[in-house]
Structure formats: C-alpha cells, structure tokens
Symmetry: C5
Subunit: 354 residues, 5 copies
C-alpha cells in the first residue's frame, strides 16, 4: 500500500451505500472469531459460517466478533444486515481508502482506524484499515488481513487478568484502540532509527541514493500522518459524544490513549522537521564538496598554468633569444618558476584554501 488514492473506478456512478470492496485483492478465506465473556464466563468460537454469529446479537455477555478479511462482500453484507448496520457504514468498512472517523448511530458507534505495521519481508511500513462497531453488548472488529495485534487482548480476556473481564464493550473497544496506538510507537522507533542512519550518511556520503531515502522517508511520514492525524478528533469525539454506550469510567482511559495519540502526532511533526532539515544538509554537503573539488582544480591550475606558459616561452624557436644561450639560463628559469610556485602556495594559504 504505497498510494494515497486507491482505485475507485469501479464505484463511480454507483448509488450511495452500494457495497464494493476497495483495496488489495485477496483470495484468503475470511476468518471470523467470536469471544464471548463476562466476569465469570468465557467462550471462544472459530466461526465457519457467518450465521453462527447471529445468536450473539442479543447476548447479555460482552461479545467480540473479530472479522479478519473484508474482500468477500457477501459475508460482510450478511453480517451488516443482521446486526442492523447502516448501508453507508458497510460501504465504509469495505472501502479501505476511508478517512479515519467516528460516527454515533445511537444504538451503536462506528469507528474507522488505521493499523500501521512494519512488514519485515518487504522492509517497509504497511497500512491496514480496522473498523469497529461498538454496541451495548457486542463489538465487531473488521481487519483487512489476519494479524497478531489483537492477540494479547484475547489472551488477557481468556486469562481474566486485569479489569477487562469486569468492564463492558466500551472498555474492550478502548483496549483494541490502545493496542493499535501502542503499535504506532514501534513504528516511530523504526523511523527514528532510519533518521539516525540518514544523519550519518547525509554528511559523510551524500549520494543520490541518500536523496531517495530521504524522499521515501518523507512519503512514509505523509502516509503515517494521514493515518493518525484524524484520530485525535475521533478520540475527542468519542469522549464528548452524548451516548450511553461509553461509560464515565472509560473516559479516563480514552483520555490516556488520546494523550498518546497527540504524542504520536507531535513526534511525526518533529520527525518531519528533522527530515526536511536533512535535505538542506544534503544540499549543503554537496555544495561544500563541490567547493573542495573546485579548490583542488583551481590550486593545480593556478600554479601550473603560468609555469607552463613560461616553459612555453623558452620553447619558442626564435632565432634571437639571448636567454637561451646563457649558461645558467635553464637553472635560473627553474629557480624562478619554483619562486612563482611557492608564491602561489603562500597566496592559497593566505586565502585559507590549504
């Protein structure tokens, strides 16, 4: 995913709410997993058939339905219809080129976020869209692909550690958001390492490759920023929205993840400033090096061009050139030229070129 705009051509002309998957094609099977729990009980189900989710719609426990893969439109549609999701919401879930947002539909809240992952194989950052449906008794999360990010939360629920089993769906959604935001810091560390490497390269060996790396880093940060910046608003809306779905006790946790988001955004901004500065340094380094090259050329030329002229003079074939006949003429001219050469060196030293 290295594009700011994804191909939407297949959507043009369709009515609002038409369900089309916009994103990377995939042939994997969609994986749906249900975790149903309350303070005392815990149940985990790998769903074969989407209909298995339906009984949980009115479960009195907290039910977390995690959908990994959104490329099979019919499955998402079935889920959406059964759980009364607005067609525009389904459209947004399927369109992985969605801007981050939070919408309150009274009976449920819809949240879109971006996961940012480091793909070690391809050695680059990748972005994945995650959507949440937060209802009073169930949470549905939609990921683009299977991934490990939510595993620790599932395990914490299973183990019954901490407060998660005692809390409601809003805390679960908070925990999911928090785990995504925590992950941003890992990516920031990775970017900081890259910047530090660059700082070295940019002064010691400024080659066009460095330039390319700077440019790519800048682009990565544009994508990163685009994927995190609106989260600030999403989270502050979550706190301010007038809904019963989010308990007062969860507000402090949302504020905490909000603070982390601000910190991520600030850090990206600071990184941007630093990378911009690096381009200036790259340019200055090149200029400086050119200057050094020029100096070598100028010193060599300035010393030898007059000398070459002098030896040229005594290479002329005029009949009447008395100096040529002098016994010490040759030695004298050698001495004279070394004087000139040394004069030049003194001149360059005065100019601080040497």
């Amino acid at each position: 995913m290295t594009e700011l705009v994804k191909t939407r051509t297949k959507k043009i002309g369709l009515p609002a709410g038409a369900l089309v998957h916009i994103g990377d094609a995939s042939t994997e099977k969609i994986e749906i997993k249900i975790i149903d729990y309350n303070e005392d009980n815990f149940k985990e189900i790998e769903v074969e058939n989407v209909e298995e989710c339906f009984p949980f719609k009115n479960s009195s426990n907290v039910t977390w339905i995690n959908v990994s893969g959104i490329h099979q439109v019919d499955i998402i549609e079935k889920l959406g219809i059964y759980f009364d999701l607005h067609p525009l919401i389904l459209e947004d879930i399927l369109n992985t080129d969605q801007r981050l947002k939070m919408e309150d539909f009274e009976s449920y809240i819809f949240i879109v976020m971006k996961m940012i992952l480091f793909n070690e194989k391809k050695n680059r950052i990748e972005f994945e869209q995650v959507s949440f449906i937060l209802s009073s008794n169930f949470v549905i999360s939609f990921q683009e692909k299977k991934g490990d990010i939510f595993k620790p939360i599932a395990e914490r629920i299973k183990a019954g550690k901490g407060r998660i089993r005692k809390m409601h769906t809003d805390y679960l959604v908070y925990a999911l958001i928090d785990s995504i935001v925590d992950n941003y810091f890992i990516i920031l560390e990775y970017i900081e390492d890259q910047i530090e490497d660059l700082e070295e390269d940019v002064v010691s060996k400024p080659v066009p490759g460095t330039l390319k790396t700077i440019h790519n880093l800048k682009k990565e940060m544009i994508y990163f920023r685009k994927s995190v910046w609106p989260l600030r608003e999403v989270l502050s809306n979550l706190q301010r929205t007038d809904t019963k779905l989010i308990k007062q006790s969860t507000h402090i946790f949302l504020r905490d993840v909000y603070d982390h988001t601000i910190q991520v955004i600030d850090t990206i901004e600071n990184f941007r400033t630093m990378v911009s500065g690096m381009l200036d340094i790259y340019l200055s380094s090149i200029s400086y090096r050119m200057n050094e090259v020029m100096k070598v050329l100028t010193i060599m030329s300035t010393i030898f061009i007059p000398l070459t002229f002098i030896v040229g003079v005594y290479g002329m074939n005029f009949k009447n050139m008395p100096e040529l006949e002098w016994h010490w003429g040759y030695y004298f001219i050698l001495f004279f030229m070394s004087l000139i050469g040394m004069g030049m060196l003194v001149f360059f030293r005065k100019k601080k070129w040497l």
Copy 2:
C-alpha cells in the same frame, strides 16, 4: 480554462444583478432536460423551448431540470424570473468565475460547485462550474457544457433502483454533489500517476522539461484546491442551515460526502507537499550531477596539467640543459611522470572521488 481570473471587463460599472455571461464563449444550443418522478411515476422530457419548464414549478413530484449551457443569457433570465430566483443568483450562475458557495433563500437553496474533468484530447484537467437550485419540489442544475457526469443518476432514477425514487429533492441534490465529488478521485488518481512518473524522472533525468512539468502540476493543484477547498464549508453549512428543504435523513449522506471532500482536500495537500519536495530533489540532482562533472574535469586537469608542465620544461630550447643529453633521460622522465600520475590517482581514491 487555465486562468485564475476570468475577464470581467464587460461587467465593470454595471449594477449588481446585471446579467452577463462570464466564461468561455460557445455557440452550441443550450440543452434543457426535465426528469419528473415520484416513487411510482417517471417522465423524461427534452425541452425545445424554455417555457416548457414552467408547468413543473408547482408539480407535486420531484422535478429535475438540467440546463447544459449558460451562454444564452436570455434563456437563463426567463427561467430565473419564472422560478423567482434572486437577480444576484442569476448573476452568479452566469459568472463561471464564481467562488464555491451555498446560500439559503428560505424557499430555495443555491449551491455553486466546480466539476473537474480530464480532457483526454488536450491531456489536461478542465474545470466547469455547476450550480444547483434546491427547492421543495424541484431541482435546477446548470452546467457549462453537455457532459456525462449526471447520466448514471438519470439512469438510476429511470431504473428505479436504490432509494432515490423514494427520496426528495434534497437527496437528488446530494446524489448530484456526490457524483461530482466521486469524480474528483479520478482526477486525484491521474495526478498521483503523474507524480509517480515525475519521481522517476527527477532523479534519473533532470532536464528543464521536468521543471516545467513540476510547475504545471503545481498549478493544476492550485486550481484543484481552489475549486474544492470551499466545498468543505458549503457542505457543512448545508448540514447546519436551519431549513426545511433538507430532511434529517439526508444528513448522514451529506456527512458522507463531506468526509470524502475532506479526504480530497487532505490528499491534495499531501500531493502539494510531495511535489514541493520534488523540486528540492530536482535541484539536488542537478547539483549532484554538476559535482560529478566537476570531478571528471578536476581529475583530468589535475593529472595532466603538471605532466604537461614537465614535458614543457624539456621542450625548452636552452643550450645548456644537461638532462637532455643523458642517455636514459627520456625514459627516466617518462617513468617519473607515471609516478606522478599514479600518485594523483591514489590521492583521488583517498578523497573518494574514484
């Protein structure tokens, strides 16, 4: 349309509300098309004479009057007078150099937008002004030229698919706006392709042509931004305005198209950042290349200038130059010069120029 300001000279000195067409001249006939529908009925009329529109003013159905072409002032004026439009509105419709805006006149709402189209023949982006009059039972849309953008909506109405036939004029206007905004994404894709091409060129072959392309791209984005930026405000005003013309149920759709607009604006901003960066890279590339050129020159000069001096010395015609008489003098001097040459090469290697 490649100018930020259109010639208004013919308007100077005229009173407010004076009707003058400002825009590209055209001799095509204005085309007016009426689509009149409700949930059960559908009627489509190609209008020959503007008076044919008048009966629909008080129709109980939803009536969509699409006017393609605004260069015949008298036709627009007749329509305006019959449908009770304020003279300033008519002036705005005719002036294709209008800023995007939305104005609420209680009995109707006036909206000005810009279509952005890719002209494949001329291989460039073109802008077209579209105005909407949203009344309780009719919608009038004014385009500068005939075009295909609204066709899918006409067909959807005809086919009776989706919710459009069940909804009112406000939904129709939403659908029209949405189709325009959807089209922006196509242009964004086109621009992104251009940027990607540039990214290659700017490092591998930085010629003034590249510079020109960057400059044109920048200008296109200035026009684009100018044509989209105020839409944000227009759409948020549409939602907040205290009017009966826009039903509560349409708000969620307006919010959706508002989100898309924000995304378009964000993307343009990101593109701008990327294109600006490209100019820096262009400059750096040129500097780098100059550096390379300089190095070649300096290496060649620095090696051969001293050698040329030496051979000059032994080309002097002094009587008394003992070396010239030595039997191995020539071979010795050749050997000496190759020593100097290799010394230079070692020096350059140490300086990392080779």
Copy 3:
C-alpha cells in the same frame, strides 16, 4: 506610492485627533460634488464653497457628497465639524496610511478602504485611500484624487436605472464599495498577465532582470494583500453590526461583495504561491544552465588535455628519443591520439553528456 510606511514625522508628539494630512502632497483644488436624489428627484451640484454642503445635512433625500482631494485640512475640518464627525475620524480620513477599518458611531458608520488603480503612464499599480461616512440620509466619500471609478454609479443614479434610486444610503455605500472591489479584478488580470510572461522568461532566459521583475511582483502583491485583506473583516462587521443604518435587504448585497473579496484574497494567495515557485524555477534554470556550461568545458578539456600532453612529450628535446626517428612515428601518434579522442567521446556518450 511604493512604500509600506508613510512619513508621519510631522505627527509625532501631537495629541490624538490633531488634523494633519499624511500622504502625497498635491496642489490641485479639492473638488466637491453633491448628488441629491430620491425615487423621483435628482439634483447634481458642483460645489464651490464647502458651506454649500451644509443644507444637505438634514435633507430627507439621499445625499451623496463626494470629496476628491484631502490635502486641504481646513476644508475637511469644516465638513467634519458641521456633520458632527469625531476628531479621530477626521484624523483617519486625512492619514492616507490608514489600515482598512469600519467603525460604528451609532449616528453614522465610518469605513476606510483602498482603491487599487493601474497607472498606465508609470506602468505600475497605485493605491488610493477612500473613506465613507454612511449616515441615515447622507453619504460622504473622500478620495485622494479625482478619478473615474465612481462615475458609472453617478450615471446610474442620474439615469434612474436599476434599483439604486429606490434604495437608501446603505445601498449607495454598497454600490461604491462594489465598484472598488470590481476594480480589483482588473488589477488581478493585469498581474496574471505579468505572471504568465514571467513563466516564459524564467525558463527560457533567466537573467537578473527577471529576478527584479519577480521581486517587484512580490512587492506589488504584498501591497495589494495589505490593502484588501482587512476588507474581509470590514465587510463581515458591516453585516453583523447592530445598526439601523444598514437595512436587512442590503445584507444580501454585502454578502455578495464579501464573497468577491474572499475570491480576490484567495487569488492573491494563489498568485503568491505561483510567484514563489517561479523563484525556485529561476534558480533551477540557472543551475541547469551552469551544468550545461560545465559540461562543454569538461568535454573540451578532458579530450584535449591528455592529447596536448602527448604532443608535449614529443616536443621534448631529449637527444635519445627513438620514436622521433621512426618513419611512421608521426602518423602512428596521430592515429593513437584520435583513438583516445574517440574513446573520450564514447565515455561522454555513456555518461549521457552528449
């Protein structure tokens, strides 16, 4: 008028409200013209003596007193005293280095604006301050010099065309403001033409003159922006101020001129962006050209410097240089040098310098 600050030295130390004319000195006679009208009557008077204006203070018609020239402080003072203007207002009218503003004094509203005119003789933009006093039954306008900008309005009033004769003083002031704002577009067109010329020059013949033109254009836009930017606030205050002097029916016209102002400001901003970009292009063009120059130098030097060295070798006067004796030595060395020359050309072609 090409300065951002006008000489105020003569004002330093004077109390607030002290009347001093700050601006270009002038010896022309101040010209005062009165137009008095209502829907049915119309009267136009060229005033010889400022006292002639006094009877119109309480006229039941709309009276427009247009004062061209403000360099005669006593005349302005007499007017001000008779029409009960606050001393600070008079001070502001006389100080042509005034920032745009609007002040509501209950019985009248005071507005300061800048006219922007193109002086064809001097081929440059000029700025002129205009002040308005809007009262319930009279409008006083102060211009720095005689000019043609308000003529069409006077003629429209005389002809009784349009709605102006039916409206009150607020509409008259709107019409005057509108004619000034309309004029801004003419200046924008002129600037756009200049920018287009520059775009050509900057790539094809980047000389320091171009640089000077860019710099002047930038300055013109700083002045322009300074003279228009606060108008936005002035106009929005005019709409929001809680006064009886501005009728509800005039609001839509003020909104219209407000929209135009925003458009002027946006366009200036876009121009600024474009002109800034042009400087980058200028710099890049120069760098590119330098690169081209360098290449020519390097190619010539790199080919001929080694060759010159070789011919130097065989110009040495060593006794024992067997090659010199060879019959084909000369031809062989010529052939060898052409090999080297062609090798260099191949090398440059590979480096894409040719």
Copy 4:
C-alpha cells in the same frame, strides 16, 4: 540590548516577588518627576527624595509620577510598598526582560510595554521597558533611562491644550501608550530605508557584507516583533476588562491605538517577507554571477585548448613530418586555426552565451 534572553542567573532560586534588577547596569541617579493637574491647576515637581511622592497617593487631582531609572531596587520598593503594589508587580517592573502584559488588580491596572528607539550614535535600534500603574487618581510610569518620548505630553498638559487636562488617568495612560506606538512608525521608516538600500545592493553587489546586513535586519525585526506583537492582546484586554478605571469615552482612543498596533505588526510581517525574499535574490545573484564567470572561463578554454593542441602537434620533433616542410604550411595552419576559432564563436552565439 541585542539579546533575546537577559541574564537571570542572580534570580534563580529566589522566591516569587524577590526584587532583583535584571537589565543593563547603570550608575545614573534615578530621576522622579511629578506632574499633578486637573482642569484648572497644574503643578510640576522634580523629586529629590522618593517620600515626596507619598502625599499624592490620595490626591483628588490626576497625578503622574514618572520614574526614569529602575536600577536602584530600594527606591522602587519604597514606592511599591507605599502605593500598595503587589510584590510580583514590583518584580516585573525591575525585570527588563519582561513580556508585554496587562494585569488588572481592581484598584489599579499594571501594563508593561517596550519603547523602541533608534540610537544614532551606535547606529542601531534599542529597546527599553516601560511599565505603567494606572490607578483612579494617579499614574506611575517606570522607564529604564531618561528619555524624551514623554516630553511632548508633559508639555501638552502644562499648556492645557487639547482634551488631556479635562480627562482622567486612563486618558493619560492612553496618551503615553500612543506616544510609544507613534514612535514605532519612525523605526519602521528607518527599517524601510534599510530594506530599500538592501534591494539595490543585493542585485548589484552581492558580497558577504550584504548577507550580514540581511541577517542583522532579520534579527532586528525578530526583536521588534517580539516587543510589539503582544501589545495587540494587551490593548484588547484593556478594552474588554471589566474595570471602572477605564472610562467608556477612552475606549475609542484605545481602539485607535490598537488599530495602529495592528498596522505596525502587519508592516513588520510584510518587511519580514520582503527581507526573506532578499536572501533568495542574494543567492540567485551569486549563482547568476558564477554562471557568468563560468561562461567566460569556458569560452576562453574551449577556443584555445584545441588550438593549443594543434600548435603542440607541430611543435613535435618527429623526423618525418611532411607538413613542416611545406612552404605554406605555417600560413595554412594559422588559417585553419582561425577557422576553428570562428566556428567556436558561432557555436557560443548559437548557445546564447555571447
């Protein structure tokens, strides 16, 4: 005063309200002057001993106590204690590195401002802190040094001209602020002159001295901006604060000085833009000049390097070089070389280098 931060080391660790003078040391005697007046009476006293001020604390007239010099902490402290000033206020008065501010303590208002003066001896701008205590019946002003800026006001009070004798302490403070702001315009004029000089230099003789001047000008404007920017807020707070100390009738005067402040700030911003642009022009000028130098070098080299090669060829000492024997060989080769030389000139003319 050319530093953004003044040495505070002696204050570190002291409690809030500890009185320490931070600023330029001075050994002059502090000068205190009292002007006591109402509409009918006027009294002016040069104070020898700070206790002479105390009787005026409850005078029914307007009393203006002007303190020139704040380096004697004990005098300021005595004044402060007798006039019931908060210790933090005294601390602020003594710390000349104070940010502009206005604080309302019900019984009095405290204002800190910066005077900006042009020191003709040192040919540079200097900054001086001025503080005001505005009470219902007295005004205390603290200056860093003796100065002439308030003299015209003292004289106006003495002469009884204008409205100042009829007004209260708030008008006196306004008049003092106004005289400081008026003075800013003189400094702006001085800066504008400097900028104009620079505009010439930067194109015609871009030397490092120019660079230094630009840099100093930039710094001066940073200091200027720092010293004026917060005044905007101070003055708007003065108008909005809910106090009896400022009469309604004074508001219009405060608004007037507020407008001037905005104008000063705008002008500084415009100056900053212009000076920034100048650096770009400086860089471009240097690049352009380098280009010119390069062209001369390249033209000379490109013409003479091949010719020198040719004469080198015929300077070789091969036995068998038939051309050397030709009778017209020499003339032919001279002719051939002039052909090459002219070819080069044509080539440069085509490249527009000549």
Copy 5:
C-alpha cells in the same frame, strides 16, 4: 536522552495501568525525603523505608514527599496504592516518555513536567521528567534522579523566609514549577551563546562541522520545544480547572509562571527562526566562496591560456616561419603578450572581478 521516542517494546500488549519503568536504567537507590511544615513547625525526614511516608497522608500540615528515582517500580506502586493514586497515574509517572499534562482527579491533581538541565560533563542538554501529586495536605514530587533544583525551595521552607510557610500545598507546587521554569532561562542563555558563536563561524569559516552544529542545535530546540510547549496548556488548565485544591490567591502566581512559559516558548521560536536563517547564510557563504574560487581560476586561465597558445605557435617547427628569423621577433612577441595580459586585467576590472 537524545531520542524523541523511548523504547516501549516491553509495554506492548500489557493492559492499561500495568506498571513498567520506561526510561534510562539506573541502579542507584531511590531517595525519599519528607518535609512537613506549617507556619510554626518544620520537620525534615530522610526516609529509609517507603512505609514511613504513610502517616503523613492525613497530616494537617503541608507535607512534601520528594521521590528521587523512579526505576524501582515496587516502591512507586506501594506509595501509589497507599495514597490512592489511579493506576494510570502511576503508569504515567513511571513512563519518562510522557507528554506534559495536568489531570484533575478531584481529590488530587496530577501534573507531569520536564526539567531541562545542562550536563557540563557531556556538554549537552538533558531532559528529566518530574511529576507532581497535589492534594489538599500533601505534595508528592517524582524526579528521575537526584538533583539540586528543588534545594533552594527546601531551604526557603526551612528558613521560613517569604510567604511559603504561610501558604498551602498549591503554593508549594507553584514554587516547584516556578523553579523548573526559571531553569529554562539558563538553558536559553546557553543556547543563545551557542547561536552567537555560530553566527561568527557561519560567515567566517563555513565547514561541515558548522553544519553539524546547526543541525544539533536545531534538534536540541525540537526537544526543548516539545518539553515546554504543552506547559502553556497545563498551566492555563491549572488556573481554569474547577477545583478547591488551588486557592484564588495562588492564581496570580500561576499567571506569573504562565507568562514566563509563554516567554520561553516565544524565545525558542525566535531561536528557531534565527538558526534556520543561519543555514541559509551557510549555504550563501559556501556559494560566495565558490564564486571567489571560480574567479581566481577564471582569471588565471583566461590570461594564460591565450598566451600559452601564442608561445605554442612560435614553438612550431615549420620550416618557413618568417617571424622566427626577425631580429626583434622575440621581444616583439613578449611585448604583444604583455599587451594581451594587461587587456585581460582591464576587462576583469571592468567586470569588477578584481
């Protein structure tokens, strides 16, 4: 501490409120010191065991518990549990990569700040996190390491000087914050000194080391800004928050430290502007120097290249070269060449290169 992001890897996947120390590892013993005082009494205790703090929880005096060192999680946890601190607060205290903030938990207020210290050994700026718990009768402060910054306050309390012994916990927290902010000014002075040194270097000896210094200075200011910027909000929240913990009488002191914070932020911004400008000057200096180098090269080459050509001509071995036979040929050609040389010098003087 030179990183914008600290390693959080050990926290990923843990639930909110999990206590993990994030920051520089340390093996020093945590030092806890209690100062308990009211107007009349004073007690100072070096705590061996964290439990010794517990009795002070409900002390009627003001109790200040200063904890130096936060790397022993169990000690912080014990304190937190006994003093009823929210787990998220404890988490924030332990995470030294925390953004500045202030949170109001009714019974106590939590504040996070950054100390900025100059490490003279390492010759660089260091950052340390400080957290405060402000309750009605106790203040707990957490520092990362032992330090001297709070010592003067402890001594002032001991000595009973000033108002501190008469005030409550809110004044104590103010005093602590104030001492940290005062310290910022010392760092600003240090940075200003560095900038002044740079100003010299950048013009007189622009070497890559200068570039590195500029870059480091920029980074230091990014860190500084990051550590101070949010303090503005923290302090204004402290004033506005609806709490009984902060007395009205303390507001003026908070406003004072708020003013200082604004001043620190402004100064950093001004420093940033100045350092950015320095990079431009660095680049210009290099360009200027390159220009000078080029001129020397060009002057030398342009004078001697044609002369060398001429002497080459008369070094040719043509049989028939009449000039060679002329008696004065050699002298004539020397004279001719000095004419050319002087012509060149005149040309360069006209071009102002000499």
